[in-house]
């Protein structure tokens, strides 16, 4: 055990910090819309070898040798100054690794570069009204007609579909095959006739996810990744990219610091709430969870770096539940500190900031928003099944269908 960085990595950190002096942008560039500023800086990050390190240069990445410690240093330093790094969008975060593994050469060249820059935006078409946790039961249909797929059916909970140029989605192409074997992974241009996006309003008041309806929408036959009927395996593959699973430990600490700041600014019996012994104990208990998150992350990171991931399979499969619960504890404590202000509705302009505003109404929003991660991307109830079954060898549930 040694928590010091080597001289070589400290020097690397120095180079990253030097590079980050270029953020935020200055002069004329600082007058551009934020999205453009981020794109400019991200491009510089790629040229410097700090962004998209695992993506080949041919497709717009920086293709750096694998070095988990360097990755961590970059993550930490970029996060400190809030500089734009790899996009974590559906396109850059989900589609790109999938194409790198299963795409044809033509698909990689066509789709990866604009997904990395964000010029082409993607949404993910997985869930359907009747297929949530039991995703493989999906019914949205794609039928081959000449050199086109004809799509019919409905997707739901499709985040950012209203802004997306493209969708990667799962469609039933082999209706007679067993349920997992009848699915294909298709790439769908969202501007085709027969595709309709309808907004869903969230309980907190915002609009991020949608319903998407397909009525005889046609896309080219070549817009398939992998073989017909292989879509399930193709879609699962991104889940085994370990770096996606380890998560970002710095976010949790920041949320906890925000909570401490809130406790200093709110009062209780005429004194800062943070002086109240009960509040202090509660904050310290939450910090126990926050520190567990950070240290468990560091342990997994070390295992990845040593090539010993098998030793940390259990804590790894717990990451999502654990971080979700911890964020909920933070939000819940903040909500309690608001006392009567907890009746206020979030402000319109805060809705698209996902509760990252330190105002009372921002915390009200975060209190509601903290429920989202327990549902999205593998509900907590399902995660608990996975932990019990794959982590501890408990038998699978009795299922009506195979």
């Amino acid at each position: 055990m040694d928590l010091e960085y080597s001289a070589e990595h400290e020097a690397f950190r120095g180079r990253v910090q030097e590079f980050l002096k270029g953020w935020p942008l200055t002069g004329a560039e600082s007058k551009l819309p934020m999205e453009e500023q981020e794109a400019i800086f991200r491009k510089r990050g790629i040229e410097a070898g700090f962004v998209y390190r695992s993506v080949p240069k041919a497709y717009g990445g920086s293709e750096q040798p694998r070095d988990a410690i360097a990755d961590r240093i970059i993550q930490e330093e970029f996060y400190k100054v809030g500089a734009p790094r790899d996009l974590l969008t559906q396109g850059a975060g989900m589609l790109v690794p999938t194409l790198l593994e299963f795409g044809t050469e033509a698909q990689k060249e066509r789709y990866i570069p604009p997904a990395l820059t964000g010029e082409e935006r993607w949404c993910q078409g997985y869930s359907e009204p009747g297929s949530g946790s039991d995703l493989a039961s999906l019914q949205c249909q794609a039928r081959l007609d000449g050199d086109e797929w004809v799509l019919n059916g409905q997707k739901i909970w499709t985040s950012s579909a209203q802004r997306a140029h493209m969708m990667f989605g799962l469609f039933r192409t082999e209706p007679d095959a067993k349920k997992h074997d009848g699915i294909s992974y298709l790439l769908v241009p969202m501007d085709r006739p027969g595709i309709e996006v309808r907004p869903l309003k969230e309980m907190a008041g915002g609009h991020e996810f949608n319903e998407v309806f397909f009525t005889d929408a046609r896309i080219p036959a070549g817009n398939i990744v992998g073989q017909r009927g292989q879509g399930w395996q193709v879609s699962r593959a991104t889940l085994v990219h370990e770096r996606n699973l380890i998560g970002n430990p710095f976010m949790m600490r920041e949320a906890f610091s925000d909570l401490l700041a809130l406790a200093r600014s709110r009062t209780r019996d005429g004194r800062p709430a943070i002086e109240d012994p009960g509040i202090r104990r509660r904050l310290a208990e939450i910090e126990g969870y926050v520190q567990t998150c950070e240290l468990s992350n560091m342990r997994q990171f070390t295992a990845a770096n040593r090539g010993e991931m098998l030793k940390v399979m259990r804590p790894m499969m717990m990451n999502k539940v654990f971080s979700t619960d911890t964020m909920q504890r933070i939000a819940r404590c903040a909500y309690d500190l608001l006392e009567g202000d907890g009746v206020l509705a979030p402000l319109e302009e805060e809705l698209d900031k996902w509760g990252r505003t330190a105002s009372p109404t921002g915390w009200v929003l975060q209190y509601m928003f903290s429920l989202g991660p327990a549902i999205a991307g593998g509900a907590t109830n399902i995660q608990l099944n996975i932990i019990g079954e794959r982590g501890y060898g408990l038998p699978r549930d009795l299922r009506r269908t195979s």
Binding site: L260, A284, Q291, F322
Partner: protein, 359 residues
């Protein structure tokens, strides 16, 4: 940058695990638990032979010169097998002497602790409430110690006491000498017997120290108790899994019901990631002086509390059987009660976490 165990540390754990599996299987543990002595000379000599008694004693004094992290890894396994005996008090006494004694005193005391020819323990806490060094009132006048100490582990087996005095100083007292009266107390954890010890002008050597060094000793205690609680809770998860696979209701193992599966998954998710807390607290004690106190209190508060939750859930999961004396769960339940309540409850350590963290 590496937050993981070394091969030597993994080997140390394997060795202790092998020993505990052979020498302290549940059947043997049950005999000792029911007998209530909380001590088995054969078990202790086995640990001494493996070098555990002198693990953190410097090499110059005949020990292995290892670190608190190594000791905590042993504590984890002793917790997992609920191994009875004087490990906790003995280790802390040796650490305390190493921390504050002068070279001559170390030379006189430590070799006997390292080779196991003497058993020592610590007498620090004075009442249910007074665990912090600032609350210690025992006095030394000339070379004689007076005062009363509560919750002294393994006092009946000890040859020597490391006694905490007013101001955080530490003294070394012959347990069999004059002016020492040991009053056994019925403790809930029958693997680690406790006593109240009365010192009435007992001959002592003053070793030195102050409140800061006393806290440093208590931080080490927090780490060892946290590690023990982690090991005990890990054992409970194993027991829960085994029971839920073997117990059938409605024609299927109860493990197949999500109510049970999710309970186990929740317990495990509370416990397994928190292993890193005691690793870090031990490492900080060894190498990161500025982080050490807070890390120790976070680990003690969080791990013993989560382990206690796990133990309560485990009893419930075992149904009526879980509430019996016969069921194994109670032995670890009580081990965790000790870890949680001895030398500062989670509440007290959270108050300290807040204080040290500048909340």
């Amino acid at each position: 940058m590496d937050f993981g165990l070394s091969e030597e540390q993994e080997l140390l754990q394997e060795t202790v695990r092998g020993f505990a599996q052979n020498e302290c299987p549940t059947t043997r543990l049950r005999e000792l638990f029911d007998a209530g002595t909380g001590h088995d000379p054969a078990l202790w000599s086995g640990l001494v032979e493996m070098g555990i008694a002198g693990l953190i004693v410097p090499e110059e004094q005949g020990g292995a010169g290892m670190e608190l992290l190594d000791l905590a890894l042993v504590a984890e396994l002793l917790g997992e097998f609920a191994v009875p005996g004087p490990f906790l008090g003995h280790s802390l006494a040796a650490l305390g002497v190493t921390l504050v004694a002068d070279p001559a005193q170390r030379e006189a005391i430590l070799p006997g602790l390292a080779d196991g020819s003497q058993i020592a323990t610590v007498a620090l806490q004075e009442s249910a409430f007074g665990f912090a060094p600032g609350e210690w009132t025992a006095k030394i006048e000339g070379d004689r110690v007076s005062g009363t100490k509560a919750i002294v582990p393994s006092a009946g087996q000890a040859d020597r006491f490391l006694v905490g005095l007013q101001g955080g100083r530490l003294a070394w007292v012959d347990a069999k000498g004059e002016g020492v009266r040991i009053e056994p107390v019925e403790g809930v954890d029958r693997t680690r017997p406790i006593s109240t010890v009365h010192f009435a002008g007992a001959p002592a050597s003053l070793l030195g120290g102050d409140e800061a060094s006393a806290w440093r000793l208590l931080d080490a205690a927090s780490v060892l108790l946290a590690a023990d609680a982690f090991g005990a809770a890990s054992k409970l998860i194993d027991l829960d899994v085994a029971y839920s696979l073997s117990r059938e209701q409605f024609g299927q193992p109860i493990a197949q019901f999500q109510a049970i599966k999710h309970t186990i998954a929740r317990i495990a998710t509370d416990i397994e990631p928190a292993r890193a807390l005691f690793w870090y607290a031990a490492h900080a004690w060894d190498h990161l002086p500025e982080e050490s106190a807070r890390a120790a209190s976070v680990a003690k508060a969080h791990l013993t509390d989560r382990a206690m939750d796990a133990a309560r859930q485990s009893v419930e999961l075992h149904g009526g059987y879980g509430f019996t004396w016969e069921c194994e769960v109670q032995m670890w339940f009580k081990r965790i009660m000790f870890d949680r309540s001895c030398l500062g409850t989670p509440d007290r350590h959270r108050e300290r976490t807040a204080e040290l963290g500048g909340y």
